[in-house]
Amino acid sequence: MDIIEPEEGEILDIELEEDFLEKNRQLSVKNRALLDKNKVRAIDVMGSIGSGKTSLIQLLLSILGKKFRIAVIAGDLTTSIDAERLRQPEVKIIQVNTGKECHLDARLIERALKSLPLSSTDLLFIENVGNLICPADFPLGTHQRIVVISVTEGPWMVVKHPYIFRDADIVVINKIDLAEAMQVSPEKLTQDVSGINPNAKVIPVSCRYKKGIFEVVSALELNLSNKGII
C-alpha cells in the first residue's frame, strides 16, 4: 500500500468538532438510561452554599426512608461532613469529592452509580456542590432537579442566577422563619422564579421548624409502590 506522507513544513487543517459540554450531556443520557433500567428515581439537589441542601435531604430521608430504599450521592470539594450528617443505617451514602471542581458532572455520577446497589434502590438523591452557577451547565441524568435557596441569601438570588432556575422542577425557598428578620419576601422570590420558569413548583420551607417538607414530598410525585415510582 502506498502511503502518501506530508512533506516537511506542510500546513494541515484538522477538523475536530469536539464539544466538551456535549460530552457531559451524552453521558447524562447514559446515566438516565441506567437509572431507568433499574427503576431508580434520581433527584439532583442543587443550591447555594449554606442554603440547606443537606438539611432538606436529611428531612426527606426521615420521611421517605420507611417507604423507599434510598441512596445518596453527596458531592463536595474535599470533606465528607455532609455525608456524615446524612448517615443512617438504612441509607447507602457515597461521597464524591470533586477536588477543585465547582460542580458534579455526569462522569463522576457514572462512577458513583457503579458502586451503588441500583437494583435494590428506589430513590437516589444527589447533593450537588454548593453553587448556583456551574451545575446549570452539567446535567447529571436525574429525573428531577431541585434548587434550594434561602432568604438569608438576600432578595436577588433568583434574578442573578436565572440559568439554574430555568431547568428546575422544584424550587425550595428555605429559612422562611427568618424572612421577616431578613426583610426578604418569599412571595417576591416566588414571582422571580415564575418569571424565569413558570413550570417550576416553588415551595416555602423551614427546615429548622420542619415546615413545608410534606409539600416538597408531594411535589416529588412519588408513587408509593416499590419500584413503581418512575
Binding site: E10, I11, D137, R166
Partner: protein
C-alpha cells in the same frame, strides 16, 4: 467558574492531536463558545496559554467565537436567535422569552456548546 477544567480538557485534546499528527507547531486553534454557557472566552484564552507553555502550541493563535443562543418557541413556532444583554455586572442576562410572541415556552437548540472546532498545524 469551570473555565480551568474545560480549558484543561481542550488543551489535552490539542496536545493529543499534536502527538498523533507529529506536528512541529500549532498555528491556529478555533473554538466556539455558546453564550448560554457559563464560560468566559477571556479566561479560556488565559488558561489555554498557560497549558500550552513550552509545547508546540505555545504560539498558536487562539480564536474564540461566541455563538448566540438558538431557540425554538413551542408557543408560536419561532426558530432563531435571541439577543443577549451584556450590560449585567457578572453574567450576561439571557431573556428566556420568545422575541416574537413573548411567551417563555422556549426550547434551547444551540448556544450551549464549548466546541473545539479545528486546529491548523505545521509539520
Amino acid at each position: 467558574m469551570h473555565d480551568f477544567s474545560i480549558s484543561q480538557q481542550i488543551a489535552s485534546k490539542v496536545i493529543e492531536e499534536i502527538n498523533r499528527e507529529r506536528a512541529f507547531k500549532v498555528i491556529e486553534i478555533k473554538i466556539k463558545i455558546g453564550e448560554l454557557t457559563h464560560l468566559n472566552p477571556e479566561q479560556i484564552d488565559f488558561w489555554l496559554k498557560q497549558f500550552f507553555h513550552d509545547t508546540p502550541a505555545e504560539d498558536a493563535k487562539i480564536l474564540i467565537e461566541k455563538t448566540p443562543p438558538l431557540i425554538y418557541c413551542k408557543g408560536c413556532g419561532y426558530r432563531g436567535t435571541i439577543k443577549v444583554r451584556d450590560d449585567f455586572f457578572i453574567y450576561p442576562f439571557i431573556p428566556l422569552n420568545c422575541p416574537k410572541c413573548g411567551l417563555n415556552k422556549i426550547e434551547i437548540k444551540g448556544g450551549n456548546e464549548c466546541l473545539l472546532e479545528k486546529i491548523k498545524i505545521k509539520r
